[in-house]
Amino acid sequence: MRSWTDMAFILVVVLDLFVLASSRLGAAIRAVALQGALLSLLALLLASSGHNMGHVLLVAGGALAIKAILIPWLMFRAIREMAIRREMEPLVGYVPSMILGGVGVVLAFAFSRGLPLPTPEMHPFLVPTALATVWTGLLLVVSRRKAVTQVLGFLVLENGVFVFGLLLTGFMPVMVEAGVLLDLLAAVFVMGIVMFQINREFSSLDTDAMSSLKD
C-alpha cells in the first residue's frame, strides 16, 4: 500500500505543476477536481487502525463530494455563463511560473525534513506535498489575471491546507473538519455569485480593469 500512497502524493504535485502550466480553464478545473479526488483517496490510505473509521470515511467522502464534484461543477457553470475558455497572458509568464513552481517543489522536498512537527510523521511525502501545493496556490492567486484562475488558486491553496490537516486527523474532532469544508463551500459559493455579478455588470472579469474602480 505504501507505493500507492507515494503515487498519490506525487500525482498531487504533478497536478499542481499542470495547473501552473495550463492556459485552458477547462483543463485546469478538471485537474483541481482530480486533485480533490486524490486527496479523498489519501485520507482513506493514510488511515491507520488507531483512527475512527467512521470519521475517516466522513472526511474522505466529504472531500470527494465537495472538492471533486460540487465545486468543479459550480466552476464549470460559471465559465459557461461567462463564455470564457482561456486565461490571458498572466503577470508571471507560463514558463517562469513553471520554473518557480518547480523550485518550490524542490525546496519543499529537500528541506522539509528540518521542520519541527508536533506529531509523528505519517508519511515522508506529506509535508513536502502540502508545502508545494500551498506554494502553487499562492503563486496562482498572485500571478493570474482572470478571477476564475485566482479562485482556482485559492482552491489549490485549500487543498494544500487539507493535506496538512491529514497530518492531524487523529487529533482533530469531526466538527472542526466539517467546519473547514463548509467554510470552503461558502467561500466558493459566494465567489461564484460575485464573479457572475461582476461579469454581468462590467462584461469583464479582468482584475486589472477592476482596479480602476477605486477612488
Binding site: 507515494d6 504533478v14 505543476l17 507560463y94 514558463v95 517543489v105 524542490v106 522536498f109 529537500a110
Partner: protein, 303 residues
C-alpha cells in the same frame, strides 16, 4: 560474444528505417488510409543513393560535410547504447555525456549546413532547432541522472542493465516520471508532432524538415538515415528503461527489445495522429515542463 556485437551493430544499422515506416503506417491507418509499405524507408534510401545532387552556388564544404558528420556522430553514439539484452559495444563511466554531446554535434553540423545555403528558410529552421534543443538538453540529462541515481551506475549499459529491476521496485514513481519526461524529449529531439510536423510541406511550420531543404540525392539519404538512427536511439533508451526488468532468457531479451521498439513506434504514431502540432510559443512550455518533471523525480531520489 562476437555474434552479439554483430547483432548489436546489425540492429543499429538495419532496423531504424523500419521504425519510421511503422510510424507512417500507423498514422495512415488511423487516418483511414492504407499507407505506404513498411519497407518504404529502405526503398527511399536506395533511390536517393542512386540520384545526383544539386548544390547551390552559395554553399561551401560545410554544406557537403553536414550530412556526413551528422550521420557519423549519430552512429558513434549508437555504439554506446545497449541494445537487446547485453551491454553496449563501448561502455564506461560517464558515457551518457558523450552520447548526448555526440547528438549535439550532429545537430550543430546540420545547423551549419543549413546556414551555409544563405536561405531564410533554412536559417529559420536551424534557429528553431537549436533553440528548442537547448531547452530539451537539460531534461535529457536530468532523466539520465535520475537513472544514474536509481541504479547507482554511471554508464548507459549499467543504467539500463540488470540493476534496473531493483531500481524499479524501489524508485518506481521517480522512474515513471522520468520515463514520461524522456518521451517528451524524444518527441522534441526527433521532430515529431506536437513539436514539429514531419509531413507538412509548409516551410513556415517546419523545424527539421526546413533545415534540410536544400540537400538532395545521397546527402539527403544520409540525413534521413541519420534521423532514423536518432529515433531508434531514443526509442531504445525508453524501451530498455521500461521493459528490460521484466524479460528473462537469452533470445527472449532480443525479441522483446525489437518488439518494444515497434511498440514505441506505434505509440509515437498514435500520439502524432491524435495530437495537433503545438504553437511554437508553447513548445518551450512543454520542454520546461518535462525538465521540471524530471527535476521533481531527481529530488524524490535525493531526499
Amino acid at each position: 560474444m562476437i555474434l552479439r556485437a554483430l547483432f548489436q551493430i546489425g540492429i543499429l544499422l538495419l532496423l531504424p528505417p523500419l521504425l519510421l515506416g511503422v510510424v507512417t503506417r500507423v498514422k495512415a491507418i488511423v487516418a483511414g488510409r492504407r499507407g505506404p509499405p513498411l519497407l518504404q524507408g529502405y526503398y527511399d534510401l536506395a533511390r536517393l543513393l542512386r540520384k545526383g545532387s544539386v548544390y547551390s552556388r552559395t554553399t561551401t564544404w560545410v554544406f557537403r560535410a553536414g550530412p556526413v558528420v551528422g550521420l557519423a556522430a549519430v552512429a558513434t553514439a549508437g555504439t554506446m547504447l545497449p541494445a537487446a539484452g547485453q551491454p553496449a559495444i563501448f561502455s564506461f563511466a560517464g558515457d551518457f555525456v558523450l552520447f548526448a554531446y555526440l547528438l549535439a554535434l550532429a545537430r550543430f553540423a546540420t545547423a551549419l549546413a543549413a546556414l551555409d545555403t544563405g536561405s531564410a528558410f533554412e536559417g529559420m529552421g536551424a534557429a528553431r532547432e537549436v533553440s528548442f534543443a537547448s531547452m530539451a538538453e537539460p531534461a535529457l540529462f536530468l532523466c539520465l541522472v535520475v537513472l544514474a541515481r536509481a541504479t547507482g551506475s554511471l554508464s548507459l549499459s549499467g543504467m539500463l542493465g540488470p540493476g534496473l529491476a531493483t531500481a524499479w521496485s524501489g524508485a518506481a514513481p521517480a522512474l515513471l516520471l522520468s520515463a514520461i519526461a524522456l518521451f517528451v524529449v524524444a518527441l522534441a529531439e526527433n521532430s515529431r508532432i506536437p513539436v514539429d510536423d514531419p509531413g507538412t510541406h509548409l516551410e513556415l511550420t517546419m523545424i527539421h524538415e526546413v533545415m534540410v531543404l536544400d540537400h538532395s540525392g545521397p546527402d539527403l539519404a544520409f540525413i534521413l538515415y541519420g534521423a532514423s538512427i536518432k529515433f531508434f536511439l531514443f526509442g531504445a533508451l525508453l524501451v530498455r528503461l521500461v521493459l528490460d526488468p521484466r524479460v528473462q532468457g537469452i533470445w527472449g531479451a532480443e525479441a522483446a527489445f525489437v518488439g518494444g521498439l515497434v511498440g514505441f513506434a506505434v505509440l509515437v504514431g498514435l500520439v502524432e495522429s491524435f495530437m495537433a502540432r503545438l504553437r511554437l510559443t508553447r513548445v518551450p512550455q512543454m520542454l520546461v515542463g518535462a525538465s521540471v518533471l524530471s527535476v521533481f523525480a531527481l529530488v524524490l531520489l535525493l531526499r
